[in-house]
Every structure is written in C-alpha cells, then in structure tokens.
Amino acid sequence: MNLFLNQLINGLHVGSIYALIALGYTMVYGIVKLINFAHGDILMIGAYTAVVTITSLGFSAPLAMLATVLCCVVFGIVIERVAYKPLRSSPRISSLITAIGVSMLLQNLALLIFGAQSRPFPTLHRIPPIRFQGLQVSFITLLTIAVSLALMAGLTLFVKAGKAGKAMRAVSEDYNTAQLMGINVNTTITLTFAIGCALAGIGSFLYCMAYPAVSPTMGSLPGLKAFISAVLGGIGIIPGAILGGFVMGIAESLTKAYISTQMSDAVVYGILIIVLLVKPTGLLGRASREKV
C-alpha cells in the first residue's frame, strides 16, 4: 500500500511538470490552432539558461529562475513573430512543418553551441526527504507540486477574470470577430505565447531540479508527453491540460511500477491513440464540426 502511494506521489510529481508544459501547448493550440512542436525545446532553452546563469554567472537560484523565465519568454515571442505569424493564414500543414523545423533548429543550434555532452544541473538544496509512516516525499516533489498548483490556479483566474484573459478566450473562439470587436489579435497571440513559455520556463527549472541533466535533445520527450497530456485532456482547454498532465504522470508511473517499464512509452502512445479514436476531443473537450 505504501509502495503504491509512493508511486502515486512520483506520478503526481512528473504529472505536474507535464501539466505545466501542456498548458503552453494547449493555450497556443486554442488560439492559433498550431501544434507548437518547438514548445518542448523551450524547456531545453530554459534549462541551459539556468545552468549557465548559475554555474558561470553565479546567480542565486531565484534570480536564475527569473532569468530562465525571461529567456524562455523572449524565445517564445521571437519564434512566434518570425516563424509562425507570417503563416497564420496558410494551410495547417505548413505551420506544422514550420514548427517541426523550429524544433529541429533549436536542438541543433544548442548542439553546436553546447555540444552533445549532457551537463549536470547544480544541486540547489540538501533537504532530506520527509518521511511519514512509511511514506516519503522528497523536497523537490513537494516544491514542484505546490508551485505548479499555484501557477495553474493563477492562470485559470487570469483567463477567467482578467481583461487580457477574456481577449484570449475571444480570439480562440473566433479570430476574425475578435478583431472586429477591437481586440488586438497580434498582442493577444503574443501574450499567449509569452505565458505558455513562462510556464515552460518554470517547468524547466523544476524539471532540472528533479532530473539534473541538461542536453540539446532533453526537451523532445517531455514535450511530446506534455503534448499528449494536452490532447488527453482536450486540446485548447486549460483545465483539460492540467487534468491530462496529472493523468499522464500517474498512468506512466503506475505502468512502470506494475505493468512494464520497457513498454511505458508504448503505453503512453497507446493512451494517445485510444483517446484520439474514442474521443478525439479529449476528456473535457466538446465536439465541433466543419461547416459545410
């Protein structure tokens, strides 16, 4: 039983990171209908920023985190403006290919600049795990879950109540009408990318604390899994991404613990395929059809 609970906690830990990244995917998809393949690589950029600022520039952890978030946001905005914006009215396949191209570019640039060798992420704390009646929770797990929950609550509030949040929802509902209503669509889209990347930046920092290895391709796998989380919850829906992230994390952890560690990736993709086939709109999604 304790083992099970411990595994569940592991799942929550991974899941909250997936959820943070998934939010970026889902917001961007909701607003411009683009699978931003490069979102996972924003995670990688954040990780390198953190490593460089801490080890080479000697930043303290909170300062480094701020730098990470800033760097991710800047990259996100630049990518949106340069690569995605000109393609907004092109066929979806073009923007999808561009996104794949951006992802490849970021990875290979990092490879040229930093080399393939993975770099260690500095240890930032020495707090032993908290034990309670056979259960144990590490400090990083607690921190990650707490920070992600706080961010998700904040984001939900922002989108529900804030003026910019309303603009976002309007643009995702109908791009052209929103424009007619006097909403600055470009600003709103940029803001969406910025928020998504900021979350990825924080996620990246937390991710590196848990998995202290930084390499050029580190973003692909968590990026892909986060994307699957977003689809699982219903892409374009913010609570969906959060739910999807947690479901994915727990499913992955329990698969590894009780079914097969070797097949855990296959199970993850299997979940994706089943969801897409049974309910393509995801757990919380609602159907919409093309107007004929």
Partner: protein
C-alpha cells in the same frame, strides 16, 4: 507532338545513358565501392521520399512515422533471407516483396483507425504508431531486441563471386526497382485512383460529395506508401547488414519529410531531385555534415515562409510524357491494337414521369438539444425545378446536408427513386443519384477544370488500381472515353477552352458554373444547388437562369435550389418550399408563396406582416 516525342527520347536516353555509364565505370574499375554504395543509398532515399510523397503530397496528410514502415520491411525481409534456405538471388526478391507486404499490412492496420482523424491529429497519431513500432521491435526476441539483427547478407557481394559483377547486378536490381516504383507512382497518380486521392487533398468534403469514397482512398494511399517504404527497408537491411530499431526512429522520419518538403509536396520529381542533392551534398562538402541538420531545419522554415510549395511545387518533369511516349512506342512495337474507346457516361434514363424522384418524410436532426430541422416533408417530381427559401439560419443548408448524408438524420426518412437512402455515406448517395454544389465554392483548386470533372466520373469507371499502374487496355479505353465526355460536358457550359486552366484561377462566375458542371458529371437524377447565384451580377444571373433551364432537360434532372435572389427563384421555380426555424412553413407555386402572410412574416417580421395583412383585408 514532335517536340514531345523528342523529349521522350531524350529522357529515355539519359536514363539509359546513366545506367550504362555506371555499369561501364564499375567494370573499368572507375566506380569505387564508395560510390556504388552511395548510389544505393540515393535510390533507397528516392523510394522513401517518393512514397512518403504519396501520403503527404498527393493525399495531403502529414505522416510522421514513415520510417516505421521502413523498419517493418527491413526486419521482415532480413529475417526471411536469414532463415529461408534459398539461393540469395531468389530469396532476396521474395523477401523484398514480403517486407513490402508486411509494411502494407501495418499501413492498413494503422490506417483503418487513424484515418478517422485529420490533419494535426493524424500527424500525431502516425508519430505515435511509428514510436510504438520501434518500442515493440526493441522488445521482441525474433527481432533481436535491443541489439537488432546483424550478419544480414549484404547484396553488394552476394550476387556473384566476382565483386564487379555482383556490384553491377546490385545496381541493376536497385535501379530497376526504383525506376519501377517511381513509374508506378506516376501512373497511379494519373489514373482515376490518383485523381481521387488528390481530390481529397484539395477538398475532402467536395470529394466525398462528388462520389469519392474518401476513407477507402486515404487507406489506399497509406497502404501503397507503406508498401514501397517496406521495400526500401528491405533494400536498406541488405545494404548495411545490421539493423536495429533506433535506425528507424522519429528523426529518420523527419529527415525524409524534410526532403519531401524541400522537393515540393506533391511533386515526385521534386522528391527525386531533393533526395539526390541532400544525400550527395554532405558527401561532397565535408564541412557541411557538421551543420547539416541546422541547415536542413533552416531550409525547412525558410521554405515554408517563402516558398511553401517547395522546389517543384506540384509540378512534374516531362516524365509523364516520357511514360506515355514509351507506352505508345511499345504498343506499336508489339502491334497491340489500340483498344476501342469506352464511353462510360450514359444519363439515367429511368422513367419516373409523374412519380416523385426524391421524397422526405418528417426528416429532422437535432444537434444536442437544438433542433436544426424537424418534420421536413419534401417532394421532388421528375424534371421539376423547386426552390428552397427562407431567412438566414432557417436550416436550408442543413436540409441539403441531410439529403446528401453529410449529417445523419436523427429522425425521418429520405427516399430516392423509390429506395430509402438513410444511413448511406455521402459518396454512396452521390452514386445513387443526388449531386450538389456548395454555398462557398468547393472546387479542387489546383486541378484543372477538366480534371475536376474527371474526378466526378470516378464511380463510373471500373479499372482497378493495378490496371491504373499498368495502364492496360481497360484503363486506357475508359480514360479516353472519360476525356471525351468531360470535354463534352464543358462544351455545354461554353467552357471547353478553359479545360486546361486551374480551377482556382478561374473567374468567380466560371467557378460556380464549373461546380454545377462537376455535379452533373456524377450523373445525378437530383441536383441540389446551394445559392448558385450568390455573388453574381444581374446579367450573370440571367445567364445562370438560362443554364439551369437547359440542363434540366438536357440531363433529365430534377433541381432543388437554395437561393436568396428572389428574381431567380420566382423566375424559374415551379414550386417553392419556405423554411423557417427548421420547419417548412409554406409551400406552393411562386404566386402562392409571394402572398402567403406567414412567409412575409418570416422575412419581414410579424408586425409588418400584420400591417400587410390589414392592407389586404
């Protein structure tokens, strides 16, 4: 014609020259193992990218797991040559075929569920399947698990004791397979099946409404692409002697995708050129290899930003002409008589005089709680022109969608020519005799006007994909017949001179006409026109009215039309149904409708209607 023949001969000669050059170089020792190895790599890449182009270019669906099919082919083929106690010269071709078939089977298995999805989701699901194939291969014992298979016979040395002879046989074999695969993709692309696949890329909804079973053709495209990828995989396994699952991961799929995109999605020649360039470049420019992936990704982005159609767009070389010329040449050579022209197009002469051709009985549909249409009873007599009018949002287009099976009715029945058609797919209904046009024009924009019409003839041709690839007598005679019929149809609409113009670049009025023309090509008994006069100026509208009257007799169809232009409606309709809030509120002759208070109320609001009624009273 003469110029064409010249280009045919030149093309054939350059292919032959290239082949002979390689053979001569090999025997004279001028062809190192290094170069012959690269040539094989180029051929394999050409097969992979050309086949990927079938799904990504012709069908227009992004597939991200193409290397997975290659893996299946590689493993099946390698396992076969390792275990079969046959001479390599025999077991190898069989193994390639088996590998291709296994991959095709996987393609189909994946395709059946995956093709319910579109666009982004399909891309993601192919990615997922590609990765699952990798994980499974890594964990099976028959595939050698993580280590993979090694010690696979290398074809370059296996054909003969003499290394030069063996090398030449290898090249001949690989080159021939590549040429054959490319040729069959070309010929298939030109057949009715290829047109069906391309029409799905252009506009899936219109394709279905034109009588194309879209799901079947998506599946066909996937299966064919997987089959060729499987063969490429078999070649690859026998080139490297060792295979493991990591060789066929996501990155490999992406590398092939890059080549396809650069060459131009939809252009097989583009894929060939891009393969040759991108494989040779790193070999020639050593410094390039370090920056290879950075440059690839940059090219990918820049290409999408500035030239999204790739190097070649959807254009092809004179290859097609080369192929047709070769055909003619061989036919003459073997004294094969040019078979007769089959005319597949016969109008439906079913006698339904005085009987309704189309009837609905309390037809309705509810989206969630909202009833978009209910208790619709329509009746269309033979050769009748009937109008369907109503204010915006009244449910007119919904009725069309119900009639054509785009939406499945939640209540009621549709009876066409005395048979119920409920629950049939759109393309079946089209084949049964209902054709339609769309409110927002849905043509196959990058196809020519003539091809647009040929797509609609699809269901009345019968040759199989295989005879399309072989271009046998049946295929040729049917194609010839279709060509004549399609031109005839264009002539009816005074558009014969526009036959070779891309539909997307036709003027608006002509596009509307072409859409009607395409609808007629599927040989309907009932023609549904959704706002045919929308956006037309008065003189164009008058012309359209004339056309509608003409086709009714010439093609013996009943016409149901939605229109807001009351002059048109009142001018040509014999009867009119009025729809409001999803219900039929009135029906009758134009005069009856014009004075019906309920109709006036629906159009002008209740108070005004009361005033009008008061005036009349």
């Amino acid at each position: 014609m003469k110029k064409k023949t010249k280009s045919v001969i030149l093309n054939l000669f350059s292919l032959l020259f290239f082949y002979l050059l390689v053979v001569a170089l090999t025997f004279s020792g001028g062809m190192s193992d290094y170069l012959s190895n690269i040539l094989v790599t180029v051929c394999i890449t050409v097969i992979m990218t050309a086949s990927l182009n079938v799904t990504t270019g012709l069908l227009g669906q992004l597939a991200l797991g193409h290397a997975g099919f290659m893996a299946v082919g590689a493993y099946v083929s390698a396992i076969f040559t390792r275990t079969a106690a046959l001479d390599f010269g025999l077991s190898f071709p069989i193994s390639l075929l088996l590998g291709g078939m296994a991959a095709a089977l996987f393609g189909m298995l994946i395709g059946i569920p995956a093709l319910r999805l579109q666009g982004d989701y399909l891309a993601i699901i192919t990615l997922g399947f590609g990765e699952i194939i990798r994980v499974i291969i890594e964990n099976l014992s028959v595939t050698g698990g993580a280590k993979g298979l090694s010690g696979i016979t290398r074809m370059v040395r296996a054909f003969s004791q003499d290394s030069a002879v063996s090398s030449v046989i290898q090249f001949t074999f690989v080159f021939l397979i590549t040429v054959l695969i490319i040729a069959s993709i070309f010929t298939l692309g030109r057949s009715r099946h290829g047109r069906a696949i391309i029409s799905i890329r252009e506009n899936a909804i219109a394709a279905e409404a034109t009588g194309i079973p879209t799901t079947k053709y998506k599946l066909l495209a996937f299966t064919i692409a997987a089959f060729f990828a499987g063969i490429a995989g078999g070649l690859f396994a026998h080139q490297t002697s060792i295979i493991n699952a990591k060789m066929f991961g996501f990155n490999k799929s992406i590398e092939y995708l890059v080549i396809v995109v650069l060459g131009g999605m939809g252009s097989i020649t583009g894929s060939i050129i891009a393969s040759v360039v991108l494989i040779s470049l790193p070999e020639v420019l050593r410094a390039f290899s370090e920056y290879r992936l950075v440059i690839y990704s940059l090219m990918l982005i820049l290409m999408m930003l500035f030239r999204p159609s790739g190097l070649m767009g959807t254009r092809e070389f004179s290859m097609l002409e080369a192929w047709e010329g070769m055909e003619r040449f061989f036919r003459r050579l073997f004294k094969q008589k040019s078979s007769q022209t089959r005319m597949p197009f016969q109008p439906r002469y079913d006698v339904w005089e005085g009987k309704p051709v189309l009837e609905t009985f309390s037809l309705g549909i509810a989206f969630g709680g909202l009833k978009a249409a209910e208790k619709i009873d329509l009746r269309l007599m033979d050769n009748e022109i009937v109008g369907l009018i109503g204010p915006n949002g009244a449910g007119k287009t919904t009725v069309f969608n119900l009639l054509t099976g785009v939406y499945a009715p939640t209540e009621g029945q549709v009876v066409l020519l005395g048979k119920p058609i409920n629950g049939k797919m759109t393309h079946q209904i089209t084949q049964d005799g209902i054709a339609r046009t769309f409110q927002n024009i849905r043509l196959f924009k990058s196809m020519t006007a003539l091809e647009n019409i040929k797509v609609a003839f699809h269901s009345r041709m019968h040759y199989s994909p295989l005879s399309g690839i072989l271009r046998n007598a049946q295929c040729l005679s049917e194609e010839r017949g279709i060509d004549i019929r399609a031109r005839e149809l264009l002539r009816v609409f005074d558009m014969e001179d526009l036959a070779e113009v891309r539909a997307g670049s036709l003027p608006y009025g002509k596009q509307r006409k072409l859409e009607i023309c395409r609808a007629l090509a599927s040989n309907p008994k009932v023609l549904l026109l959704d706002e045919p006069a929308a956006g037309m100026n008065p003189s164009e509208t008058v012309e359209l009215m004339q056309t509608i009257k003409t086709i009714r007799h010439q093609f013996s169809v009943a016409i149901l039309l939605i229109e807001h232009d009351m002059r048109l409606v009142m001018g040509i309709c014999e009867r009119i149904y009025v729809l409001n809030y999803g219900r039929v509120i009135a029906q009758g002759s134009p005069e009856e409708i014009r004075s019906n208070p309920e109709v006036i109320a629906a159009y002008l609001g209740t108070r005004k209607a009361e005033e009008e009624a008061a005036v009349h009273a």
